[in-house]
Amino acid sequence: MTVCRDVGDLVARIPDGAKLAVPPDYGGVAVTATLALVEAGRRGLHLVCLPSSGLQADMLIAAGCVDTIETAAVTLGEAGLPPAFGRAAKAGTLRILDATCPALHAGFRAAEAGVPFQAVRGIIGSDLLRHRPDWRIVDNPFPEAPEDRRIVVVPAIRPDVALFHAPRADRDGNVWVGRRRELVTLAHAARATLVTVEEIVDTDLLAEEATAAGVLPALYVTAVARAPGGARPLGLQDLYDPEPAVVADWARAVAVGDLPAGLAAVRGRQAA
């Protein structure tokens, strides 16, 4: 586990073309690190969202970092559809692997358990399946009822890198995630896990039983970097609330093609 000098150092570990896994906008997005990826001019990312994204995906798409996005949805909440995503979708310049939330959870869970696939209920009859040749319908070996004969299985999702923001890490690399256990799943499934945190503390986060319950162990953490306010203008657990006005500023600027203004709106919420 490495404590990086800064966020630029951290994102330098994400190569062009990486399959990059991220949490939803309400779940600890590494926005400062996303700005750093944009600044570094990263290209060809396969973004996989557990299970959705919004501002983060749109920043990376707007800046040309993304070739493929695999997600159950993209939304800016009250600010609607992310404009760069919408434009790229219509232009056909972005490969979109539409999924549904539990299929993404299932793919990550399969990777977590070290198995090649997991079953998911539903989906059959939706057009999602027609556009996902990597999903299969198989005979159900354990039917619940006579009509329960066919079921979807999805392959394990093993990202190259998981990237997220959390309240704190300790010097060993243990990371407090609390109830946001999809961050644990992201880290279990990914080959490398990069985390930005509000603070790096000197105490051992695993030392107290009450604290340990919400900790991602250092075993899964490749590198951390300090980034106070690193999820702004999105929210972070009980530490700070999302700022929909800033997200709306992003949407307005990018809708008229003014990426620098959009990035400036986001950057304005980052700590110096």
Partner: protein
């Protein structure tokens, strides 16, 4: 704390059309033990909280995006796991298009490879629509752009071919004009009631698919004075915790902390 600014002893103002909607949605939740509501869904959220308030503690409500009304501690998958375990009795879905077979489209218009319009995506619909017994479709606007003969893209299907386990599915459709029940055996909607101030003709004119019609279509019931007081008082204050702007606009309510 209730933040209803109106003195208690005045006659309540007549129900706002959205209060009729909330009430109609809430009626569809009767008998549910667990209701979950997706993010950014103030009207279904209000309806669920009203159903809870009227259930004498029997109904539990999970509002995604709410700190107070979220009971989950196993991360983002818990809602889907919980629904798959059969513990969620009702859920709300919507669509940019909805057709007469209750297929919903949350994804795009036109060719998916080069869509004329793109939307957020399916979220959990392609799954929850199969495993939640009572899925209530809700769309406040009601016109032929939305209610189409056939959706351009099936994000989640209303019916399923044989051989697929499906304990759940569409139960009803509530719009700004009416309530329709979905008959799963026939795979069709049937008009159940029309909201005050609207007509059957208006519904049919604005619906692009065929609807079964009973001999006479009743008016959608409006909330009683006591239900309205409940909605505008404690329920509004709870709604304001998750949807402050919505609650302030509709009820003049502030959060109950």
């Amino acid at each position: 704390m209730s933040a209803d600014p109106r003195p208690i002893d005045t006659v309540p103002t007549p129900p706002h059309p959205r209060e009729v909607l909330i009430h109609a949605l809430s009626d569809l939740l009767q008998g549910c033990r667990n209701v979950a509501v997706g993010a950014v869904s103030p009207l279904p959220g209000s309806a669920a909280l009203l159903a809870r308030a009227r259930s004498d503690g029997a109904c539990r409500v999970t509002l995604l995006g709410s700190r107070r009304h979220t009971y989950f501690t196993d991360g983002g998958r818990e809602l889907f796991d919980c629904a798959g375990q059969g513990r969620i009795d009702a859920f709300f879905l919507s669509g940019v298009q909805i057709d007469g077979a209750a297929n919903i489209n949350l994804t795009c218009l036109g060719d998916p490879q080069r869509p004329k319009a793109r939307f957020s995506g399916a979220f959990g619909s392609a799954y929850l629509y199969f495993v939640v017994p009572r899925v209530i479709l809700f769309r406040e606007e009601h016109d032929r752009r939305i209610f189409v003969p056939k959706v351009d893209y099936i994000s989640a299907p209303g019916a399923t071919a044989p051989g697929v386990w499906r304990p759940g599915g569409p139960h009803a459709l509530v719009t700004g004009l009416c309530v329709m029940a979905f008959d799963r055996a026939r795979g069709r909607f049937r008009l159940r009631s029309v909201h005050p101030g609207h007509t059957v003709e208006e519904v049919l004119d604005n619906t692009g698919f065929d609807v079964d019609l009973p001999d006479s279509v009743p008016e959608t019931p409006v909330p009683t004075a006591s239900t309205l007081a409940l909605l505008r008082g404690p329920v509004a204050a709870e709604v304001a915790e998750t949807y402050p702007r919505f609650a302030a606009d509709l009820f003049g309510a502030t959060p109950s902390h």
